[in-house]
Assembly symmetry: C2
């Protein structure tokens, strides 16, 4: 919250904007929130409207936001003293002990090192393409900017011509897609996979890792196949590309809703089936504690599993030989309900404040903001200031998660009702 | 299922169609399904395209459908031998004993009597308006047809000029609105209220009744206020009406998504905020075991309660001094997930088969079909045959409910997994 305020102030400094499409205070607040929350939505093109100085402020805010989430998501478990439903702490301790890390400071050092290595490696690979194209200075700047933007799942783009010019370029596409995927998996799962790979017998692969890795793979493959089928002949998207380029672009398009925000194809030109798929993928999002948003892959997997259970008449929810406890199913349903309410409320408020804008465009924009994806049907610049303020709040709540928000509010309240009410089973549900 | 086949065959009889906009077999199948499932969607205007004979077949199918649901929803509890999560049976027994009804046959007699009285009373009141307007024969026919259509929440309209001509007429509007509300409450709740009213000490008002009555009231009041605010000056809807007429029309518009299907206002002319509200109200729907569809008011109330609990840091879900058991929360979340999947899948299939049609129009149509509401943005006639078949399946699944469908499929399977898997708590959800 403080970061958003300071970021907004920083963007008010002279020399931030070029003068093209000058932004007022509400739009600067929106941009700072979009950066800190690593959403990536922008009212005007960052490449045109912001100077290098302004762009660097934005990417630094995104770096702070991304680092904050990874660190917070990992540290909260170690430091928190209060009880939570899930044993994030225990899960983490197991991993940290495997790395022989004693305290929070050592862990922070590892996270910083991991970020630095990931971003520099990405920048080096991107530089192979960008330096020949833009010259040494600009090439390195673009390589570093977009590597940081991708590694933190921010989705800001500043280069002339945008990201879609590399839609058939395997180097740029795959580097950025990989960074988005890793960011969406989150530090915990990557750490678990790494330690498991080093010593499979001492470090078991957690059920949580298996669940989220398989869900992510399922979403990636399904998305790629469906985009390929629906957009194959669309002249506005995959139509003009070579077959290999079509596959690459469909894969990238399937990666970006989880929640990269780089648009390999013109979102507005997608057929309506692809638009809906993109909204659904954005809504599901990435892993808990990662730089991605949405209801999270584990929530989605548990709901799908429960649905299948109810349909097939089973009572226990089994995943990889373990029974998922009912508390987690309740949590998955409740979180999805809260998330749906949040998105619905914001969408309704946007419709009322911007009655002239298209229903589908605003729905897409709302989900993109809530899930901190940053894809847009080129709508952001048409939304009025009240609408931008609604999206600002939504990006913030979507980023910190409705539950974190709730826990923060209620940290001081009692957790259990004092009266022991008699149970009620006589409710017809559904 | 058999009813749909026989209904479709009956609609193939000579003399059913007038010749205006002749329907092919797929469209007749769609119409028969719409009637049996009391959805009310029609490909072409029933008043123009169907003869009186054809209209009577449609309304008889709707009567069979409506009676089937009330009877089935009430009888299944008495006759079913297998265990279900909720104690529908016990709930019902209590009520039936209050009425001194011994068996299924007596109960059936009561339901038939209740239907007959409700429909005749409605028809008598509607006749006060329709006989002066259309003459004795036509007036009585229209009164009876629309009373049956409203009492069963079917939503079919055959009179010239449609239902919107009575938007400022308190008699017609209130009679039809009342029939929709009662139909959406369902037989069980009405029975409970009636017996409670007769003898409050012997027959307690069930928690289920309190929960669904208060949720229904909340949805009605909220809907009326929001429609009034958003549509007040809209020249296509409330704009031209007198203030009293505006209130009446906003109230009717708030009743019809639960799931009457009569359109007091031109749905296509609603502002986008009202459209979204209508979609949300249709999605929530009416009570379990009623002639209404949707995820049901109790499911909605439980999800809202759980969401509020998670936000306010409470663990027990309390309603009217009772603790709702976690099984019901799991069920509410799972049913909503299944319903969302069903709607999403059908919507995606519609988008792919009808790529030229508008995203918002098709979304509205899909929710309307799934929740058996029957409101439309005048889209039904533009949907191609594959799309109509998708909606036919959706109306059927939406009507019988995904869970009933699942239970029917799995009646013979074992209910409990044989292996006792170890529990898994280490899942990050949300
Ligand atoms: K993003
Ligand atoms: K209906």
């Amino acid at each position: 919250m403080l970061g958003i305020l300071l970021g907004t102030l920083a963007l008010h400094l002279p020399g931030v904007q070029t003068g093209v499409n000058r932004l007022d205070s509400v739009k600067l607040l929106f941009t700072a929130t979009s950066a800190i929350c690593i959403t990536g939505l922008t009212v005007s093109d960052l490449g045109d409207g912001f100077t290098r100085f302004g762009q660097i402020i934005v990417i630094v805010l995104a770096q702070i936001g991304g680092l904050g989430i990874v660190t917070f998501g990992t540290l909260v478990a170690m430091l928190a003293g209060r009880k939570v439903n899930f044993t994030e702490r225990q899960l983490l301790r197991e991993q940290i002990s495997a790395l022989n890390v004693g305290g929070a400071v050592s862990l922070l050092r590892i996270i910083l090192l991991y970020t630095l290595v990931g971003e520099l490696a990405g920048a080096a690979l991107l530089a192979l393409r960008f330096v020949p194209q833009f010259g040494l200075g600009d090439g390195l700047y673009y390589a570093l900017f977009h590597s940081v933007s991708a590694f933190n799942n921010a989705g800001f783009v500043v280069m002339p011509g945008g990201m879609s010019q590399y839609v058939q370029d395997p180097l740029v596409s795959l580097v950025i897609a990989l960074q988005i995927i890793l960011g969406g998996l989150g530090f915990l799962v990557q750490l678990n996979v790494l330690t498991h790979w080093q010593d499979p017998r001492r470090n078991r692969l957690l059920i949580y890792s298996k669940l989220t890795l398989s869900t992510t793979a399922f979403l990636l493959v399904t998305g790629t196949v469906v985009y390929l089928a629906l957009e194959w002949a669309n002249p506005g998207t995959l139509g003009p590309l070579q077959p290999a380029g079509k596959v690459l672009a469909a894969f990238f398009q399937s990666v970006t809703p989880r929640s990269g925000g780089f648009a390999p194809l013109n979102t507005e030109a997608l057929v309506s089936g692809s638009l809906f798929l993109t909204m659904a993928l954005m809504f599901v999002g990435a892993n808990s504690g990662s730089t991605g948003g949405g209801i999270k892959t584990s929530t989605f997997a548990i709901l799908m599993g429960s649905a299948w259970n109810l349909i097939s008449g089973r009572t226990d929810l089994i995943a990889f030989g373990r029974r998922i406890v009912p508390e987690n199913v309740v949590r998955a349903g409740t979180i999805t309900a809260i998330y749906t309410l949040l998105v619905s409320g914001a969408f309704f408020a946007l419709l009322v404040t911007n009655p002239k804008l298209d229903f589908t465009h605003l729905l897409f924009e709302t989900i993109s903001a809530a899930a901190t994806v940053g894809l847009s049907m080129n709508t952001t610049s048409q939304i009025n200031d009240p609408g931008l303020l609604i999206l600002t709040v939504l990006m913030y709540l979507g980023r910190i998660g409705p539950v974190t928000f709730a826990v923060a509010i209620n940290a001081r309240r009692t957790n259990k009702s004092l009266i022991d009410y008699p149970p009620e089973r006589d409710i017809l549900v559904g």
